[in-house]
């Protein structure tokens, strides 16, 4: 006897197979994307298929990554997951990203004192190689989570970390306290960085610390706007948050500065790399983005006074505002150059030296390059060896 077909079973099988085959067919015909703008990374491509690659499982691992990275409607799936996590599971964050009002934050927790100590050791190494009498300062940049105030989210103890950093650094490196120079409004809503148009107080604190008569004068700048600016957290959150406007301050100093990078010898660069706007990271507008050593010379300041900033990306938007006070500002990123190699590119004489790092980098200093081990003995290691 023939069984009667149930409509429920038929619709169940149709839906199940429909989804499976629809995704299969769409994925087969969908051209592969190269970059995920929201995640700011290259997407996996179809793997090499060869006998050695198959036997070593490289092809299969590659296909696993490819199939996930290249799935059609990837961004919509990511958004669905974020919505499910936050609106159904009511999780406090999605992949450590959380939203308060219009601001997007990333959980930075717990405090990693070992990491901070490691960065301090490298900075001390740099300081020890500087000529005697050079003026050195350190500015610890609290990230925007510090300004959340009373919150149910996990926030590290920024004051404690900052105090620890200054304890670890050489006595000759003086502190520039930035905690009260910033507020939550000084940061982008969808990005980790501070807004260039709101850090005048930071510029003044640096000038003051080095005994410079210069000060931040908003009147000399015209404000340029790029919109919409999708900050680093925008893509990571995968939620429907409002993008930012990216504001940058132009002046005769920024327009006339001669900018050069050791990575592009002989090429004349600009303070603002406008070709980066709308790219993977629009924040790379400032001082050409990630660079090992980049130098901006200010022909309008003949004093010959120079500033060298050992820095992370926060200094990229700060440096243009320091040009009026210096003949040259050099940015050194120890994530891209080993500190023992600096002598080949910079001759240290009497420059002002500023170590400017965010709390996030102190807490995650793995990317900072150390000098070769035989030359580099951390004072903490040395102390324990002697002890």
């Amino acid at each position: 006897m023939k069984r009667k077909i149930s409509f429920a079973d038929l619709s169940h099988v149709t839906l199940f197979l429909g989804i499976l085959f629809a995704v299969l067919v769409i994925n087969i015909f969908k051209p592969a994307d190269v970059i995920s703008f929201s995640e700011r990374r290259k997407l996996a491509q179809f793997p090499e298929i060869s006998i050695p690659a198959v036997l070593s499982k490289e092809s299969m691992d590659g296909f696993d990554n490819y199939s996930v990275d290249q799935i059609a409607f990837r961004e919509r799936y990511r958004r669905l997951k974020a919505v499910f996590d936050t609106k159904v599971w009511f999780k406090s964050d999605n992949n450590a990203i959380f939203v308060v009002g219009d601001q997007v934050f990333k959980t930075e927790y717990p405090t990693n004192f070992n990491s901070a100590r490691r960065l301090c050791d490298v900075l001390n190494y740099v300081y020890d190689t500087l000529p005697a009498g050079i003026e050195a300062r350190c500015a610890f940049v609290p990230d925007k989570n510090y300004y959340l105030g009373e919150t149910r989210h996990l926030v590290m103890d920024y004051k404690e970390l900052s105090a620890f950093v200054y304890t670890c650094l050489r006595d000759g490196i003086e502190e520039i306290d930035l905690f009260d120079k910033l507020t939550l409004d000084c940061f982008y809503m969808t990005d980790s960085h501070w807004r260039q148009d709101r850090i005048g107080a930071v510029v003044d604190a640096i000038y003051e610390s080095f005994g410079s008569a210069a000060s931040f004068d908003s009147g000399i700048y015209t404000t340029e706007v790029f919109s919409p600016f999708y900050g680093v957290y925008y893509g990571q959150s995968a939620l429907n948050v409002k993008p930012d406007d990216l504001l940058y301050l132009e002046s005769s100093f920024t327009k006339n500065a001669a900018v050069s990078s050791i990575e592009q010898p002989g090429v004349e660069l600009c303070v603002y790399a406008e070709d980066q706007l709308g790219g993977v990271d629009s924040y790379s507008l400032f001082m050409q983005g990630p660079q090992a050593i980049i130098r901006a010379e200010n022909p309008q300041e003949p004093s010959g006074r120079e500033l060298v900033i050992f820095r992370d990306s926060y200094a990229s938007s700060l440096a243009p505002l320091l040009l009026p006070g210096y003949s040259a500002v050099t940015l050194v990123d120890l994530r891209y150059i080993r500190p023992d190699l600096l002598g080949a590119f910079i001759e240290f004489t009497d420059q002002d030296v500023l170590f400017l790092y965010s709390a996030t980098l102190f807490n995650n200093s793995d990317s900072i390059k150390s000098p070769p081990q035989e030359e580099f003995i951390s004072p903490f290691v040395a102390r324990s060896v002697i002890g």
């Binding site: 077909i5 429920a8 989804i19 085959f21 070593s56 299969m60 997951k81 974020a82 599971w89 999780k91």
Partner: protein, 467 residues
């Protein structure tokens, strides 16, 4: 290849389903075999040879057993099959454990072999052993078609993480099985529900467990969160996998036995083991406990039999002493229950006996989860350090708040409450049609949500893959 992965869901599965249902019936076992070998090859390209060797060895042994039934050659073939399976298992799974113990006992320094554990080896060696033993006992017919036998051993729905399907359970289905729309629909639903249990619940609980174990500041709440999350994670992970295996089996016309039956509602450890990983428990009872004489021996020998079974059960879960202790811990409790405690527990109010069982199981999972004796001791101490540790910290309260809905859903999902509600609604004349029409939409939505989670996180291993 993981079931909870994009390559499986949206490449392998639709292609296999299409080919399987398009070819003539007589070729379906061959398709299933080829698909299963590809499935295994994708995860373990080199060890596929071991899987084929193991299957062919047991196929040959069983043919000899069948041919020389009741004679010495049959016994020798059985002994050969069992010994070889155990040697394979010992070499690939336990050699480094044995070497480490020899080194610590004799002070020697024999280097570890560092052999990667072949996927699913504990499952498929047990299946093939059960087959030859059943043939020897006359409880299963000899399979004469090597392709059909290999299709049974390597069948991808249950190959890498069970359930341990005994040959006699599906012998007739290998020969010929019916495929129906109803069976397909029911299998698809079961598969997607298992997928949801694994991806939406077990993985979230795994995150919570990891966060709690690596918390900056310890607190009593953190210890409780860690172990409760682990208890629920392992249940949803493993039972989710079993659901997927059973569901896939149904799609291809097979009926596998249930592997979990809401173990956390048990009122005794005896009952717990009737509800937890049923296929493994059945295997050890049938092939070890009963072979040793079961309970039809002197009390001393009975205790010995239980000790052997639970020593093996522990060791089966992993090549480390904590697993052995975990198994023996249950062995001791089962002896105690069988001697007197079980009867007492029956007289207690259900809430108390359930609390007893959950507490014992919780402690067992501390032993299971934490590898060192000191770590186990510290963890158990942490659970009850009400005076020396803070009850809660900002961190632990944050995680509790963040995962509270997942935890509540997991607790409810580990009881038959939802299942009973659905059954009642189906029986209700007014609701039956609504439930029937909502269910396909629900599973389709669940599949899309699971896909969203898989897209967001590509690395998604199953806990039971290395057992």
């Amino acid at each position: 290849m993981l079931f909870s992965s994009i390559p499986f869901l949206y490449y392998f599965l639709p292609v296999v389903i299409a080919v399987y249902f398009l070819v003539p019936r007589k070729l379906r076992n061959v398709i299933l075999l080829l698909a299963s070998l590809f499935f295994y090859f994708y995860g373990e390209p080199k060890y596929v040879v071991l899987l084929v060797f193991s299957s062919l060895m047991d196929f040959t042994a069983s043919r000899v057993i069948g041919r020389y039934k009741g004679r010495g050659a049959a016994k020798a073939a059985l002994a050969f099959s069992v010994t070889m399976n155990l040697l394979i298992l010992m070499f690939f799974k336990y050699s480094d454990f044995i070497i480490a113990n020899i080194n610590s006992l004799l002070g020697s320094s024999i280097p570890a072999l560092g052999i990667p554990l072949p996927l699913g080896i504990s499952f498929y060696t047990f299946q093939t052993m059960s087959y030859t033993i059943d043939v020897y006992r006359g409880e299963a017919e000899v399979q004469k078609n090597p392709a059909d036998f290999m299709a049974y051993v390597s069948m991808f729905p249950q190959l890498v993480a069970g359930p341990v399907v005994r040959y006699q359970t599906i012998a007739n289905q290998i020969k010929g099985r019916t495929h129906s729309l109803e069976g397909f629909a029911s299998g698809a639903g079961r598969f997607v529900i298992g997928l949801g249990k694994k991806v939406l619940i077990a993985n979230a609980l795994g995150e919570l467990n990891k966060l709690a174990l690596t918390a900056k500041d310890p607190s009593v709440l953190m210890y409780w969160l860690a172990i409760i999350a682990f208890m629920l994670q392992i249940y949803f992970d493993f039972s989710g996998y079993s659901d997927m295996a059973i569901g896939l089996g149904k799609i291809f016309g097979f009926t596998f036995l249930e592997n979990f039956n809401y173990p956390y509602i048990s009122k005794s450890i005896t009952e717990f083991w009737r509800r937890w990983h049923i296929s493994m428990g059945t295997w050890f009872r049938e092939y070890v406990y009963i072979s040793l004489g079961g309970n039809r021996v002197s009390k001393l020998k009975w205790v010995r039999n239980i000790a052997i079974v639970w020593f093996c059960t522990g060791l089966w879960h992993g090549s480390s002493w904590n697993f052995v202790i975990w198994g023996l811990y249950f062995g001791v409790l089962l002896v105690i229950e069988k001697l007197f405690l079980y009867e007492w527990l029956q007289k207690l109010p259900a809430v108390l006996s359930r609390f007893y069982c959950l507490f014992i199981v919780m402690i067992s999972f501390v032993i299971f989860h934490i590898e060192t004796a000191q770590g186990i001791f510290d963890f158990i101490k942490g659970l009850f350090s009400f005076s020396s540790l803070p009850l809660a910290t900002t961190e632990s309260l944050y995680y509790l708040d963040s995962y509270k809905v997942v935890l509540i859903a997991a607790v409810i999902g580990s009881t038959p409450l939802l299942k009973n509600l659905v059954v009642k609604a189906r029986e209700h004349t007014g609701l039956s049609a609504a439930v029937k029409s909502v269910y396909p939409v629900f599973t389709a939505a669940l599949l899309v949500i699971v896909t969203a989670y898989l897209v967001d996180s590509s690395f998604n291993p199953f806990l039971y893959f290395r057992f």
